[in-house]
Symmetry: C2
């Protein structure tokens, strides 16, 4: 797939070789993550709340209550930085200095645009499908009151950078004989057995 034409100020500078700009890498990270942290200037200074999100082609959608101060600020056009980070491992080196983490992250900069009333039902289906594929067909759809109460914002994927670290520790040559274990502790987001609602009326 093609690459994002990300401006220099939004490209990875620190360990630039870990920067990736191809759509395949960026989309894969966004499609695996569940929570984005959205950084922007609120009324009282910077904020970076966690938000559920979903990728919709070349956009990321976030949603929230229309009465939320965060959603109001973003809907009014505040520049934002949306970051998704997947933690893949702890990297244990022979020297304290070279300890690290394996991760895959995406940062997207821009301004989000509120969806119209006509666009909302389909967008809400995308959120529901993100929770579980097929679920938009079986749950009760949002009614008029719920649709009105929900603000959905679209951030076009234009100024985008992925940053990825993989592999083992990178120790200095003179440390390689130190008698200390080195390697990677893998980390991933695990899913457990679904727990039925205690108020369940139907069998799972």
């Amino acid at each position: 797939m093609s690459e994002y034409q990300t401006a220099p100020q939004h490209r990875v500078r620190q360990v630039a070789r870990r920067g990736h700009y191809d759509r395949e890498t960026v989309h894969a990270i966004l499609d695996e993550g569940l929570v984005a942290h959205v950084g922007f200037m609120g009324a009282g200074g910077p904020v970076s709340p966690p938000m559920f999100y979903v990728r919709d082609g070349e956009s990321v959608l976030v949603h929230g209550s229309r009465t939320s101060r965060f959603m109001k600020t973003l809907a009014a056009g505040a520049p934002l930085c949306l970051t998704v980070t997947l933690v893949d491992g702890l990297v244990l080196a022979r020297s304290a200095f070279h300890h690290s983490m394996n991760y895959r992250s995406v940062m997207a900069h821009g301004v989000a645009v509120p969806l119209s009333a006509q666009e909302k039902p389909h967008a809400l289906d995308l959120f529901t499908e993100r929770v579980e594929v097929g679920r938009a067909r079986v749950t009760r759809p949002a009614n008029a009151i719920e649709l009105k109460a929900t603000e959905i914002l679209r951030l076009p994927l234009v100024e985008v950078a992925a940053k990825v670290r993989t592999g083992g520790p990178i120790d200095d040559p003179e440390d390689m004989d130190l008698p200390v274990w080195a390697g990677v502790v893998p980390l991933w987001l695990a899913r457990g057995e679904p727990v039925p609602c205690a108020m369940e009326k139907v069998e799972a």
Copy 2:
């Protein structure tokens, strides 16, 4: 334990009953998380990079390269919002609208202060111990060059709020008989078997 005296503008407003200000809740979340997203105004607009961090009593420490533009901006006193989010589950409701996530998050606002050269070695030990308890004693400590290359910032925990959602879906009474499964899919950060470095010189 006592409560943070968080100012009104930094308290949870959206679903305020999910806000927590006691040190026990805040510390437990910070001590379980591995990555913070730090929101602040960079030279070109808001940024929210992921950062490894460690709690040190009533502060959170973050570190990075002294040459990093992000660390330079933060060290110069840019107001920041540090957020740690633990994802605990997907909440599947009978209505699309009431789908949710279970999570525990902490947001801390303030200004971070660079540690002095004298404070750095102990702080670096805290980072190493956060990766694995006991590891600061067995790895090669940072040398003078590494210490100088590393910026460590301390954010005092003053303006702090935790937000926590737990439990099953909260459906509307009229939806309780809908024939759709409802409940929670538990999520957690799993740890796998450590993978020794391929360049290993000693037995694990």
